[in-house]
Subunit: 421 residues, 2 copies
């Protein structure tokens, strides 16, 4: 990097909304987008007039493949009454809407626009599972897909490399899963808003009711070790290590810093943005870190002048349990090889010193890929504004939160840091 990254004009977030994530038979991505957009509008404390929106950015991975319809910028623009304002789609696989957020920041910081809607949407669940997997495989590097790698396989290989290098085991991954479910239990927007213990208990109750043999799991780990309850997908990735197939949408309203107070007395400021790219698995010198995450973090920390220890809580891209552990290290929250220990010690729990994925993460909140980036920032918004309800981070003077989004198998990563002042 040649010089310190900075923006010539500050940008603030003044509204945010998201649909509940899930698998919908009766709602398509337009329905879900309107849900997110409406919530975003009503979240603006002093009100916002849609006519004041200068431009739209839409993150979407592949409506081309899954919905058989492309060019959705103007489709969404028309849906929420923004025509003839410009609409730009960004794509970076599962990081699509983090890129939309970033382009919205640039568009305002450039001085060109004052008010920009950034958003993401994806509709996955109506396709047969094999088509969902086929579509997702297109987001791996072309080399990985060519040799038959799909996502669980890639992250299984990454986990194996990590285990080998640092001595972690499958038991450590379970700590991530248990924590994610505990957080999601408190998030009404989450696709799976129940804990592993809830899941265990409901399975036990069902067996008892049906007169079937009653499982004898004594705790969450016993449940997760049971190959019937938690079958292997691609070793060591088991069912409960993997995020689900989801539909959903998320929206945020960005405005120039100098007009933020016209919209709310409690805006959040965009203090750090970073993005990086990574090579395919076969070309990486070491598969226990993501170079794209490290680069994104470097950009965002440089711009903000903040250090990893200044980030009070974060959403990180846990498409698989191992990913969360590695990103904790790549973002500098813990040293390489120590992420899994930190999770084990409870440091990343909701009531720990560095809460991670308070929303439940991709694993439990759901992962409608094009919507994930903005939905992560929605969680940061809720937490920093003290509106996270039962899952509110109990740290006093909560001021700085971040969201890390990953696309593909590390091809595109971003880090966005928001601050309450």
């Amino acid at each position: 990097m040649q010089r310190k990254r900075k923006l010539g004009r500050g940008v603030a977030v003044v509204g945010a909304g998201m649909s509940k994530f899930g698998m919908y038979k009766d709602k398509d991505s337009k329905d879900l987008f309107v849900e997110a957009f409406s919530e975003m509008l009503s979240s603006v404390d002093k009100g916002a007039d849609p006519n004041d929106i200068d431009a739209l950015y839409l993150g979407n991975f592949t409506n081309d493949f899954w919905v058989h319809s492309a060019h959705w910028g103007p489709v969404i623009s028309d849906l929420v009454g923004l025509i003839p304002k410009p609409a730009t789609r960004t794509e970076g696989a599962c990081a699509a809407s983090a890129l939309a957020f970033r382009e919205g920041v640039f568009a305002i910081a450039s001085g060109f626009y004052d008010v920009v809607l950034v958003s993401g949407v994806e509709e996955m669940s109506k396709r047969p599972t094999e088509e969902v997997a086929e579509g997702l495989a297109m987001a791996t590097s072309s080399y990985e897909a060519e040799v038959g790698f799909t996502f669980p396989g890639v992250f299984g290989a990454v986990a194996t490399a990590y285990f080998e290098k640092y001595g972690a085991t499958r038991e450590h991954l379970m700590n991530v899963t248990i924590k994610s479910h505990n957080n999601a239990r408190l998030n009404p927007k989450a696709q799976f808003n129940l804990s592993i213990r809830d899941t265990m208990n409901s399975k036990i109750a069902r067996a008892e009711k049906k007169g079937e043999p009653v499982p004898t799991w004594r705790d969450e780990k016993e449940f997760l070790r049971d190959p019937k309850a938690n079958p292997v997908v691609a070793w060591p990735m088991h069912l409960y290590d993997c995020c689900p197939i989801s539909d959903g949408a998320a929206c945020m309203l960005l405005v120039a810093e100098e007009i933020a107070k016209n919209f709310t007395d409690n805006p959040l400021y965009v203090v750090g943005i970073g993005q990086g790219s990574g090579r395919a698995l076969h070309a990486a010198d070491d598969n226990t870190y993501f170079e794209a995450t490290r680069y994104a973090a470097k950009e965002a920390y440089e711009m903000s002048g903040l250090k990893p220890e200044d980030i009070q809580f974060a959403e990180v891209h846990d498409c698989f349990s191992i990913a969360e552990i590695i990103h904790l290290e790549d973002l500098g929250f813990f040293k390489p090889g120590e992420g899994y220990k930190a999770v084990e010690e409870g440091l990343t729990r909701l009531d720990g010193p560095k809460p991670i994925n308070t929303s439940g993460g991709l694993k439990c909140k759901g992962h409608p890929v094009g919507a994930t980036g903005v939905s992560q920032l929605f969680e940061v918004w809720k937490q920093l504004r003290g509106e996270a309800g039962e899952r509110q981070v109990p740290i006093k003077n909560l001021r700085i939160g971040a969201a890390h989004n990953l696309g593909g198998t590390g091809g595109t990563c971003s880090l966005t840091i928001l601050e309450r002042r």
Copy 2:
């Protein structure tokens, strides 16, 4: 629009390259991208170090559908050695790379980056024609595709509406085709670099050689009227009214204005950018204009302080002959209903007062959809730098040129104005 659009920091173009457009059996989009990138690098008068590039923007319509591989930002980034720098794909159907250019401008104008590669690529010709058409149909509004409209059908309907309202006929469309071919004849990068007269003569020579009945066309219009030579596709769109299926790539190097002279003594300055969105055909109140083009033009003229008459020449999105005529009007070059007369009078010829599509346009240069936007700006670059060879616009003191790009059936449009100082 609330206020005059402006950028807080100026942006300049210091290099440009494009592959020859065509239908390639032996080259894929990676080969073509490297061709464009290499030419771009060698076009930088004082040299550019790829290590100085801060970020990449890539316009691509649907590798998802045509190449069955998505998430091409990092694929291209890796190809030209830019990893771990950020790579962002933009999509707005056939305007995908005009959007990449614009995001590159915002990224620099925001103050965040100094040197950005903007680019576009598309590979279409290796798919069966019906799959190419199926992919393109995804770029219409979802409503149009649902009722079976494909692109020639939509633009045929637009032409019919225009004929009805303004009294133009098919003969007027032929003037566009003849002009485009005359220009492309002088462009070695064009897919069809021969005039209609060349085509006629070669068909006559072939018939003579084979001892077949020799056609008796006396001029280009007789050739174009002959349903054997120029069959109907969707009335009044005939074969020679339609752009071809193409493969190709294009690149430009953008830098902050204050460092432009480090790269060349002859940079071009980005003085106007504009973008708009449009409704589907069924929702438009009048199908003889494109609201997205008008909005894009308004933004770009406002920013630049220029009027339509200040634009000395332009590339406009002639996916079909009728589109060129309508855009001439929407961009304000001629009054509504007078575009077809202007073409007939020769005003848009290479040696006329307002040369249009000196490259040969999409019709003859080719239209690898994701690459078109930047390739149009490549032509503006060549002309403004006096490097257009045989097709150099003969206007003295050529200083201001523009490129207009359209996505889908008018869903996304952009206007970009460059100036030599």
